[in-house]
Amino acid sequence: MSTATETIEGLVKQDYKYGFVTDIENESAPPGLSEDIVRLISSKKGEPEFLLEWRLRAYRYWLTMTPPDWPQVHYPPIDFQDIIYYSAPKRRGDAPKSLDEVDPKLLEMYAKLGIPLRERERLAGVAVDAVLDSVSVGTTFKEKLAEKGVIFCSFSEAVREHPDLVKKHLGSVVPYTDNYYAALNSAVFSDGSFCYIPKGVRCPMELSTYFRINAAKSGQFERTLIVAEEGSHVSYLEGCTAPMRDENQLHAAVVELVAMDGAEIKYSTVQNWYPGDENGRGGIFNFVTKRGLAKGRCSKISWTQVETGSAITWKYPSCILQGDNSVGEFYSVAVTNNYQQADTGTKMIHIGKNTKSTIISKGISAGRGQNSYRGLVKIMKSASHARNFSQCDSLLIGNRCGAHTFPYIEVKNTTARVEHEATTSKIGEDQIFYCNQRGLSTQDAVNMIVNGYCKEVFRQLPMEFAVEAQKLLGVSLEGSVG
């Protein structure tokens, strides 16, 4: 192997920066899953009867299912009886009335993660809901949002304060029968974020959630629901981290988006779960179901994801384009390094007339990483003049990684136009030498080349997060690419 390749591989080896464990007293359920655990979770959260019933139906349905075996990922079977399904930071007395009452250690941890839980901090102007293990810790900017009628709170609070909205929309986009992990999530989800934008309101700030798994052996099953009423607009960002642990931890989330007539939801993710060590030990199994329903005419749902973490990623943020003239977008950067495996992509289901979708996927593989793009474009009979454009690019760094593309295209209407482009390239030693010859170090060169490659996706992220994503990519690949 040439020295340039070795250098790149050396750069790829960088430690996970967010791998600290915070010593917070947890209140946990015993490991294992049963109807009793489902009931326990529901009662801990003081949930109404309808929700408990829904959870139990999901649980019973889950029992009849088997885990999917079609993704291009390999891992030992998961022992679902060895996972803790409920873990919450222990509170001193009752629930905190304000952030001042939150465990200072917790706030310190968020500070370490660079999360602006305090309103005065760096990302002023971003409302944050932080979810640690299973419980939502605090939501900033609530009053300011309330003035506009925007509801942004933890899922538990939404269940208490706005049960009708929850009842109406929960499971309307991702029913518990959808897939194995969605069923599991429906049975045991413990918290998450809820967001409601009333008719005609443009949400005055970016909404943001940070997820962190802290407790050992715990699974995280959060649930996010965003409803955008007619003519409203919201931009939402989620970030994820987890401590370094030897054993694998399970993250099985569900995100549902509903956009009414003319509404627009922009959902951005910067996922940096612990990817496991360089020998492939530990790391998060990330099995996530994300789906948006563009229900109304001229509605729009846009997914942007930057996936750098997790040992295994199994995730297909999708759009159901039901309303006429609705638009779906998917912009993705997925990085796999060391022994990481990703099987990710999207589904664009065209139902309404003149619906339009765009898919831009950028896979980056380094080390022994395996990166698969899997995408479905489905044009139903009713979707006259539907249009899709897909572009799937793969970038390889080194000689031991792999990139795979699995496009599925189903067209049932002859007026549709579907385009698919795919490329695979390797970071050229020529490119690196060219940069070296202009005075740039190899690491800076790799960072620059990869960022150039990902530009179309980063452009979709809100400004501050685009910078964050670039840095993260740098770390993951100095890991190997940045």
Binding site: D430, Q437, R438, G439, Y453
Partner: protein
């Protein structure tokens, strides 16, 4: 400025340079000519520090330091510039961003403050005009979708911005039409100063009609077989390389 002593180098176990010796002083322009396969590109690659080449004997002293011990980026920061024969494309990387980063690496290396975007743009504006580059040029990704002529102009533009001490021009004339050749040559001549030097590597004489060298060297089979003034280039153009080769075989 540059002293190449008995340089032997090769790639993949194949010996290509077989004892090159050459001294370049500040203010001088040297041309290296030679038939295909004589080792011209290997020489430029070894001087710039391209990966994969193995130096088996000899040394190269650049401004009193051993050039071969320096990493490619160090050489660049110390003022060695290679205008590539085939400049690579770097998709998605904005030309301004790239060149600003390069310039700031050089400035940092010399203890100068880094330039911000506004200062940088002010600096490059005239240099772009001189090379007849369009305004939108800096917004485009590095070399992506550039014509052959634009790529070569871009190399000389970068050279103008980075102001190297030693510029190596590797077949800069290849792929240029006569108008572009004139623009590029004028650009190179403008950069000629008493305190820097240029090493022009070319197969044909035509570039040397515009970039007038002080010395011409003929490289054959990994050795410099003849050196002379600018008139040597003309002689080569008329008589071809065979003339020198046969003469050399004769004396040997």
């Amino acid at each position: 400025m540059l002293e190449i002593r008995n340089l032997h180098a090769g790639i993949d176990g194949k010996q290509i340079l077989k004892g090159v010796t050459l001294t370049i002083n500040p203010g001088e322009v040297h041309a290296i000519m030679g038939p295909n396969g004589s080792g011209k590109s290997t020489l430029s690659a070894v001087l710039a520090g391209r990966d994969g080449y193995e130096v088996t004997a000899g040394e190269v002293i650049y401004q009193g330091k051993s050039l071969l011990e320096m990493a490619p980026e160090e050489r660049a920061r110390e003022g060695v510039f290679l205008a590539f024969q085939y400049p690579v494309e770097i998709p998605g990387v904005n030309s301004t961003y790239f060149l600003k980063a390069a310039l700031n690496e050089v400035r940092k290396h010399h203890g100068l403050v880094e330039l911000d975007a506004i200062e940088f743009l002010a600096l490059v504006k005239d240099k772009m005009k001189a090379l007849e580059l369009r305004e939108d040029f800096l917004k485009r990704p590095v070399n992506e979708g550039f014509s052959g002529g634009e790529k070569k102009k871009n190399e000389i533009f970068q050279m103008a911005v980075l102001e190297p001490k030693l510029a190596i021009l590797d077949e800069t004339d290849s792929g240029l039409d006569i108008d572009a050749l004139k623009v590029v040559s004028a650009g190179v001549n403008r950069l000629r100063r008493a305190d820097n030097a240029q090493l022009v590597i070319t197969h044909y004489q035509r570039l040397l009609a515009y970039v007038i060298p002080d010395f011409v060297h003929v490289l054959c089979d990994g050795r410099i077989v003849r050196s002379g003034g600018k008139e040597l280039a003309l002689e080569l153009e008329q008589r071809g390389y065979d003339w020198i080769l046969s003469e050399r075989n004769h004396t040997a």
